[in-house]
């Protein structure tokens, strides 16, 4: 239903062009929940916002396409996008719902506003009725549509936000870390409610998070993002149980509780790439314990390993070796020392 192909999104900054999304391809089927995981700064938010072109002024979509039911959204004018796509086809839930509502209007007024902006023949009464029904579906008393945002608790505000997101019966919801502001119990309950409604209303969801345990429980498929690309994509079970990309292996190490067998927390050394005018290479190479010469020179092409499992890594074939090595602490710590050496020589060279 939603097909993103070779998407390129760039920020123009004083330091150069930031290739925040760098040739990203991924599909989203009807009613599917796709988890998008990756470290901070890898381009998750930029990817989501570029779908509805909700971009900062220094940001442009430099290439690729976003097809929703066969229509390329990147070809639409901003006016068409506002009228025909934003909220009616693709809506979103922000990180902190409390800040997602305008504080000076009631939640009901804001739901009515968006409904009437898109459906000119819906009366105010009908729109209110819809807001009320949505509230009740989400387990909030219908009368509370007349409350102001600050009168809700955090969890309830987040539900109200879901009601707002569903008001126009969209095809896709973009949920950018929708639960990070909530405690674990409320977070779980909210995700349950969303999932029920998703089935009932037939909505797909792009769930962005850096919490591997959330995606492993909630998603049908998982896309692992690194340096503006999807480096590994598969169904949730495959990503958790049998990943092939060293980065996914590393991510899994940093959430030990998602797999029964792994023991202690090992984090990936080094920092994510800045993505400023990136070179042609595997972006993960500088932090990868398994990087070879080829990795520094050629960007890996995606390779399929059956059943839609897609990996971008030159050494993905050596999966048994990668997995056994990746479990060891030394694999990741040894790298740290060699890398600092590299950096030193690099700065020395620059100084000359």
């Amino acid at each position: 239903m939603l097909e993103i192909s070779d998407l390129e999104v760039r920020y123009d900054t004083e330091h150069g062009e930031v290739h925040a999304v760098n040739g990203l391809s991924v599909d989203l089927a009807e009613n599917e929940t796709l988890g998008l995981v990756g470290e901070s700064g890898c381009g998750k938010t930029t990817t989501a916002k570029s779908l509805i072109r909700l971009l900062e002024s220094n940001c442009t979509i430099a290439g690729g396409s976003v097809e929703l039911d066969g229509r390329d959204l990147t070809d639409l004018s901003l006016k068409e996008l506002k009228r025909e796509v934003r909220w009616s086809e693709i809506s979103m839930i922000p990180q902190n719902a409390m800040n997602g509502f305008d504080p000076v209007y009631t939640v009901g007024e804001q739901i009515v506003e968006v409904v009437q902006a898109h459906e000119s023949d819906t009366s105010k009464g009908e729109a209110r009725e819809r807001a009320r029904e949505l509230f009740e579906k989400l387990g909030i008393d219908g009368d509370r549509i007349d409350d102001y945002p600050h009168q809700f608790s955090g969890g309830m505000a987040q539900r109200a936000m879901v009601a707002l997101a569903l008001a126009l019966d969209p095809k896709v919801i973009l949920a950018d870390e929708p639960t990070t502001a909530l405690d674990v119990v409320i977070q779980d309950r909210l995700l349950d409610v969303i999932q029920d409604l998703q089935d009932e209303m037939d909505v797909a969801m792009l769930l962005i998070t850096h919490d591997m345990s959330v995606v492993s429980e909630r998603c049908d498929n998982i896309a692992v993002m690194y340096g503006g690309r999807i480096v590994e994509y598969a169904d949730a079970e495959t990503i958790i149980k049998s990943p092939r990309h060293p980065y996914t292996l590393g991510l899994r190490n940093s959430f030990p509780d998602i797999t029964e067998d792994s023991q202690d927390l090992i984090s990936i050394p080094g920092a994510p790439p800045t993505l400023v005018d990136p070179d042609e290479m595997c972006q993960f190479a500088p932090r990868c314990p398994f990087a070879e010469e080829e990795c520094w020179e050629v960007a890996p092409e995606p390779v399929e390993y059956g059943d839609g499992h897609r990996v971008e890594c030159h050494r993905a074939d050596e999966v048994e070796y990668l997995r056994s090595e990746a479990e060891k602490h030394e694999t990741w710590t040894e790298l740290e020392s060699t890398e600092t050496d590299d950096e030193l020589t690099e700065t020395e060279v620059k100084n000359d």
Binding site: R86, M92, G100, F101, D102, V104, A117, H150
Partner: protein, 324 residues
């Protein structure tokens, strides 16, 4: 909401009482003998005693205070030494002259300033924003008298469109009734340039404040959500962004409106406008203390009242305050 208003009214009364008491003390308990301050020199001892008695200045302080309160409550501000007429009568004329001038200037400055500030905040980072900022900064750094003189030289000395100053034709008698005095073209004709001077001078502040307020509101999540909702720019700009940005302006408007009752000495001087600003300076100059006290009383009253209105308006505009 009702509780909120009741509480504010209580505050209002308390503040007001504190204000008039302080006003009383400032004018009576100044260091040294008040008579040396307020009574013209060159009087004989007997004359002086008589004057003091006439104005009740020989009574003990608490008697004076009670008298003072009683007079205020009955709307009596005393008698001006200089005009030898009730302060109230002299002041009301000046007061209304000032109100027309300042209310006109402020209304233009704030309506235009807020709308314009919201717009250039919205256009953040574009060339248009820069030009807008340059205009605002020019207005901000131009002294009032300079604006007045520029307007005078263009519209009076060059074009001859407007009179050089005053409030009505030279030599014309002031009509007795309020209506005849202010509701006519002659008055409006004299009003234009002073109002314009004030409007330009006072406009910079709302533009700059509104712009910075707007910029912080535009960075909020809810504005992004409104954009994602596909609402029109117009709706987002005025219904959401400006509506929220205006909140901090309310307090400023109240304060400025209150203070502006004191008139603008500079504008009144440049355009020979008989208003409160000049009157206050003159009365202090001539040791006409009932007059000065009356002027301060009027100004303070308006400041306090405007703050009260601002509190109430704020509660209407911001539900977070209302439901506190």
């Amino acid at each position: 909401m009702r509780k909120f208003i009741v509480r504010r009214v209580a505050y209002l009364i308390l503040t007001y009482w504190a204000f008039i008491t302080i006003l009383f003390l400032i004018f009576r308990v100044t260091p040294g003998d008040p008579t040396t301050l307020y009574i013209p020199e060159g009087m004989s001892q007997a004359e002086r005693q008589a004057t003091l008695e006439r104005y009740g200045l020989t009574d003990p302080l608490y008697v004076q205070y009670v008298d003072y309160l009683r007079m205020l409550l009955s709307g009596d501000l005393g008698t001006s030494y200089r005009y030898n007429a009730p302060v109230w009568d002299v002041l009301t004329t000046k007061f209304w002259n000032t109100i027309f001038l300042m209310a006109g200037a402020m209304t233009i400055a704030y309506t235009f300033g807020i709308a314009f500030g919201a717009y250039i905040g919205w256009l953040r980072g574009t060339a248009k924003e820069k030009y807008g900022m340059v205009l605002a900064l020019i207005a901000r750094s131009s002294p009032e008298f300079w604006i007045g003189i520029v307007l005078l030289s263009i519209f009076v000395f060059q074009l001859g469109w407007f009179p050089w100053g005053g409030i009505r034709e030279i030599g014309a008698e002031a009509p007795a009734s309020f209506f005849d005095r202010y509701v006519n073209w002659g008055f409006v004709y004299h009003l234009v340039l002073p109002v314009l001077t004030g409007a330009i001078y006072y406009m910079a502040q709302p533009i700059l404040l509104m712009r910075s307020s707007m910029i912080s509101v535009l960075n909020t999540d809810y504005i992004e959500i409104k954009k994602a909702e596909g609402l029109s720019n117009y709706t987002i700009l005025y219904k959401h962004a400006a509506r929220n940005s205006i909140l901090p302006m309310v307090t400023v408007v109240a304060l400025v409106a209150g203070l502006s009752v004191g008139g603008s000495l500079v504008i009144e001087t440049v355009f020979s406008w008989p208003g409160m600003g000049r009157e206050m300076v003159e009365s202090v100059h001539h040791n006409d203390y009932p007059m000065a006290q009356g002027a301060f009383f009027l100004m303070g009253s308006v400041v306090i009242f405007m703050n009260f209105i601002a509190d109430i308006a704020y509660a209407f505009l911001d539900p977070r305050v209302r439901y506190e």
